[in-house]
């Protein structure tokens, strides 16, 4: 392995800065990320539209068929009714329908529920989405913070008893599926040991409490959200601990840490200002992957605790084949995840300026 090769000529080429307006535009980090976000949303919406319109046995055909068979409705009338529910005209050519769909989506019109006509899909979303953002967001933040602190601790006390215990614990927690942890909470804390009033904790808030910015409502909201949040924290914290540990271990070997030690800086200052900060950076790229995962898991977790969030609504809409509600909630969940990713990217670029300049990535 003693072959020394001079770098290939292609690698030492110098890039002449030839800036035009397009380049200046794509050089802006935030703008680049924003363009990607919009592009992703466009792709997802397009795929969803064609999935619903073109797949054999599309929901619209099924619905029209159902109206004709069960209510012996004339086919034209049935199609009109379907069209009004899905918010686009079925008699137009496909590309016009597509523009229609996109247009009404931009206006926030997602059609109305099939099973309970008169209920706007956007109303369903406005009612249930905040609870999911509240519980999933809080769960993610808590697990991220705890995981980072414990991860640094594990890296500093490598091969100690604490490290071994925490490593085993985090491997176990991150390998058990989130909804199984939820089931375990219900089975053991709720049913077997009767430590928690599981039935009273269902829904997003109690019916006798008036929503508003007062102490009782906030307390009640936390009372109902505590089980989903705990589940998200329990299932995510192991992932963060292990990632933070390995990231910290590799940071500890960096030259600037050795230099900081040689300069005689206090151990605590090195741990927070030099090691911790740099080790945390790669975790933000993982955050983007994790958000989607936890949001996906919320469909199952909310089902188990019967929490009044959007995930449970999606599960029910899919179970009852309420296609308009399903489509609307799926789009909103996806948009939320895409935007969450966008903000994580912005945060990452702000924390690590090297990213903005395109040194990494």
């Amino acid at each position: 392995m003693a072959t020394t090769l001079s770098p290939a000529p292609s690698q030492v080429r110098t890039t002449e800065p030839r800036r035009n307006w397009l380049q200046t535009l794509t050089d802006s980090y935030i703008l680049r990320k924003l363009l990607r976000t919009i592009f992703t949303i466009f792709i997802v919406t397009t795929i969803t539209f064609f999935l619903i319109r073109l797949l054999p046995g599309s929901p619209i055909d099924i619905y029209v068929n159902q109206l004709v068979v069960t209510y012996s409705m004339p086919i034209n009338e049935a199609r009109d009714q379907a069209a009004s529910l899905f918010a686009f005209d079925l008699d137009q050519p496909l590309y016009l329908q597509y523009f229609d769909f996109m247009g009404s989506l931009l206006q926030g019109n997602l059609g109305s529920s099939i099973l309970s006509p008169g209920t706007q899909v956007s109303a369903v979303i406005a009612r249930f989405l905040p609870w999911t953002i509240f519980s999933v967001g809080l769960g993610l933040i808590i697990s991220f913070v705890i995981g980072m602190v414990l991860g640094v601790l594990m890296a500093y006390r490598r091969e100690s008893f604490l490290d071994h215990i925490l490593t085993v614990l985090s491997s176990v927690l991150s390998s058990v599926p989130d909804f199984l942890i939820g089931l375990l909470i219900v089975v053991w804390l709720g049913v077997q040991w009767k430590l928690l009033p599981i039935a009273a904790m269902r829904g997003a808030y109690s019916s006798n409490v008036q929503p508003g910015l007062n102490f009782f409502f906030i307390k009640d909201a936390f009372f109902h959200a505590i089980l989903p949040i705990s589940t998200y924290v329990l299932t995510s914290v192991g992932f963060w601990m292990l990632s933070m540990k390995s990231s910290t271990v590799s940071t500890l070997g960096e030259d600037y840490v050795t230099v900081a030690k040689a300069r005689g800086l206090r151990e605590q200052r090195i741990a927070t200002a030099y090691v911790g900060r740099n080790a945390a950076l790669p975790l933000f790229t993982l955050l983007t992957i994790r958000i989607g995962f936890v949001v996906g898991g919320s469909i199952l977790v909310e089902q188990i605790f019967e929490y009044g969030g959007i995930g449970r609504q999606l599960g029910q809409a899919i179970g009852q084949r309420d296609y308009t509600v399903m489509q609307g909630i799926f789009l909103i969940i996806t948009f939320s995840v895409i935007f969450a990713n966008f903000f994580a990217d912005i945060l990452y670029g702000w924390l690590d300026p090297r990213i903005k300049l395109g040194v990494k990535d």
Binding site: T40, P59, G292, Q303, Q327, I333
Partner: protein
């Protein structure tokens, strides 16, 4: 060509490397145990399908090692038989997603240029779509009654994060001396990719494969739990779903019925993940050579 003796030697060497990491070895033994139980053990244990009204929710006894379910059937026999579907679907899914990830990840990292940009753009878009909601919505349109099809669908959606890490590996390997040397010798892209690049990524690929399996176990159990997979046969995920739908989890006596499949799935996941530590050692060409 390897002779039979060389083959035995290689297997022996792998087994020795396997024991280097104790935790990984325990994981490996558990995975082996689960596979033996589902594929060999199921030939010896008969699936109990008889309803016995007088033996509902029995505690573990000499007759029923893990107790009985809501119809008085033996839980142990259901656990022994219930792993087949789960492992099969996970295997198919992991095979497909790892193949896609390795093929396009290496291509992307190695060729670079617009190919890289295109592949990464597609990957980033698919990566941001939350997988499980998409799967759940798709399950409402497509009938998932075929296990193979379910596995392929899971595999088709779960490659993006694998692809990104494979690409990163390919990018860093590309800079190494031995790849530069192979290029200088003009050995051709097929030789470089399959004889130089992939063997060096093998530990990584095998670990990714195992992790992809755990992802697929999660996704299929979740889909079954939502009642979106019309599979009639009894398997671990179906057992959990039935216990949930019938409200069995709210009975104090049914704890053995609900806990058995949960522990089975959790143990499978945990041992697959810990096994990766030993797999890394086995498939690392450098470690093999130094032995």
């Amino acid at each position: 060509m390897e002779t039979v003796q060389d083959g035995f030697k290689a297997i022996w060497k792998s087994l020795k490397l396997l024991t280097y990491n104790k935790v990984g070895f325990i994981g490996f033994l558990f995975v082996l145990g689960v596979i033996l139980m589902t594929y060999v053990g199921s030939n010896f244990v008969e699936l109990d399908t008889k309803t016995k009204v007088d033996k509902i929710y029995m505690k573990p006894s000499a007759e029923f090692w893990l107790g009985t379910d809501h119809q008085g059937r033996d839980i142990l026999s259901q656990i022994v038989h219930g792993g087949k579907d789960v492992i099969y679907v996970a295997f198919i899914a992991a095979l497909l997603s790892t193949t896609i990830a390795v093929a396009f990840g290496t291509l992307s990292g190695f060729v670079g240029g617009w190919v890289d940009n295109l592949i990464m753009a597609i990957t980033d878009v698919i990566l941001t779509i939350p997988q499980f909601p998409l799967l759940a919505v798709l399950a409402a349109f497509i009938s998932l009654s075929s296990l193979t099809f379910l596995g392929l669908l899971l595999g088709l959606l779960s490659w993006p994060s694998l692809l990104r890490s494979i690409r990163a590996q390919a990018l860093s390997l590309k800079q190494r001396d031995f790849i530069e040397a192979a290029r200088a010798l003009d050995l051709g892209i097929w030789h470089i990719v399959f004889r130089e690049l992939v063997p060096n990524m093998m530990p990584y690929i095998v670990v990714s494969f195992t992790l992809a399996m755990t992802g697929a176990v999660y996704a299929q159990a979740g889909l079954v739990f939502l009642g979106l997979v019309p599979i009639s046969s009894s398997n671990w995920s179906v057992m959990i779903q039935l216990a949930w739908v019938r409200g069995a989890i709210f009975f104090k006596d049914s704890v053995w019925y609900i806990m058995s499949p949960i522990i089975a799935i959790a143990l499978l996941q945990l041992s697959l993940i810990t096994m990766t530590r030993s797999l890394e050692l086995i498939f690392n060409p450098r470690l093999r050579a130094s032995e």
